[in-house]
Every structure is written in C-alpha cells, then in structure tokens.
Amino acid sequence: MFVEVSPNDFRQQDLYDRLCAADNASRSGAVVTFTGRVRDYNAEGSIDGIELEYYPGMTEAALQQLLEQAQQRFLLSDAGIVHRVGRLPNHAQIVWVGTCAPHRKDAFNAASYIMDMLKQSVPIWKKEWANGAAQWVAATSTDSQAAMRWLKDTDESGA
C-alpha cells in the first residue's frame, strides 16, 4: 500500500509498476486504475485551472486509513493513492487510485469506493480559477460532518 501527496505530476507506468511490485500484487488477476484530471469548465462556465490545499500529515493519514478500510471491505492484493496539491492547470492529472485484486469486481468496486470516500472525506480543499480570480468550491455533501465520521475513530472502520 502506498499514499503520496505532492505537487509533482506522475506517470501512469511508474504508478502501475509500483502498485504491482509486491509479490501478491504481481500475481493478481485484475488491476484497475482511476485517474482524475482537471476539467476546463464548471457549472458556471469555463475555468482556468484549480488550486488544491491540504493538511500535511492529516491528509496522508486519512488516505492511508481509506486504503485500509477498502482492504477490509474488498478482497484486495494491494492498493495505492497519489494526490497532487497546489496550482494545477486545466487537463492536468489530479489524483490516481490503483487497486489489485484476484477478481475484477473487487478491483473495480474498491477503486470506485476509494474515489467516493476520498471526495467527501479527505482533508483537501479546492479553488477554481476563472477570469484571474479564484473561488472556493462549495461542498456538495449535505452533511459533511456525517460524511467524515469514519475518520474520527479507527475502531469504527470496516464495519
């Protein structure tokens, strides 16, 4: 398992190879990767890139906890998350999630689950740039406290 938060761009091959490097991962039948990239528009119109702020230490710990939770919920051989922060132009890579599993359903479901949870419960905040000004993106979750509840207490995880 690996988690990385950094301003640096990443290469697909490097992360795929890193995910599959572990012996049981290299033998798994299924590998799924998800890559999220900056869209050049939002509901109001075109945008000019984004800016991501994070909480060094807590963000990495939350991502690590998320991977552990995915491993309790699905039959995974290995999984990894890489998330970029800072100013990112349109179409840039933002986030990569990779999952290895004996069976493809687990690999697909785990990657999708990790992305859903990441979006609503990992300490990262997004600004969108447009016309030279940046605006914080409003959270979509109706109850953000509830959405993040799983991060409060590790004993509650994997229920």
């Binding site: 999220g36 991501l52 702020e53 994070y54 909480y55 230490g57 807590m58 710990a61 998330h83 933002i94 986030v95 992305m115 990441l118 979006k119 609503q120 419960s121 990992v122 300490p123 990262i124 905040w125 997004k126 914080w136 993106v137 409003a138 959270a139 979509t140 979750s141 953000s144 406290q145 959405a147 993040m148 509840r149 991060l151 409060k152």
Partner: protein, 80 residues
Amino acid sequence: MKVKFFAQIRELTGVEEIECDLPVPATIDGLREQLMARGANWQQALQTNVLCARNQTLCDGVTPVSADDEVAFFPPVTGG
C-alpha cells in the same frame, strides 16, 4: 496549544497557525468561542460549517483539549 486554519477559514482569519492558551472550558467548543471573540472576521470564519480535528483526527465540539494538542479548523472537504 497550536491551532491551524485551512481554506476559507484560513483566508477569513488571515492566519495559518497560531499559539493559543488553554480555553475555558478546555474543549473544542471552548476554543472556538475564545477564537470567535477575536473579531468579526473570526466570528464569520468559525460560525458555521466548520469541521475540526484534534491531533489530526476529526473530532466534535465536546472533545476535550490539552495544552500540547494540535487543533485544526477547516470547511467541508472538496478534494479529488
């Protein structure tokens, strides 16, 4: 204790991190009240829609705090 602010809350308070005395009562809500007394911008920043973490773990308003804790206030997350 060390108190950190992120995103909108950081911008409204104008600070990333401050040192605070232990609040009375010594809870997250006590700390929040103490900070909101600093001025209108602090009140606006911490009034609604605020999440908090103690030692990098999400916590509630009633969570106790001690002098060597790291506390953080931030808005709902919007990452990924």
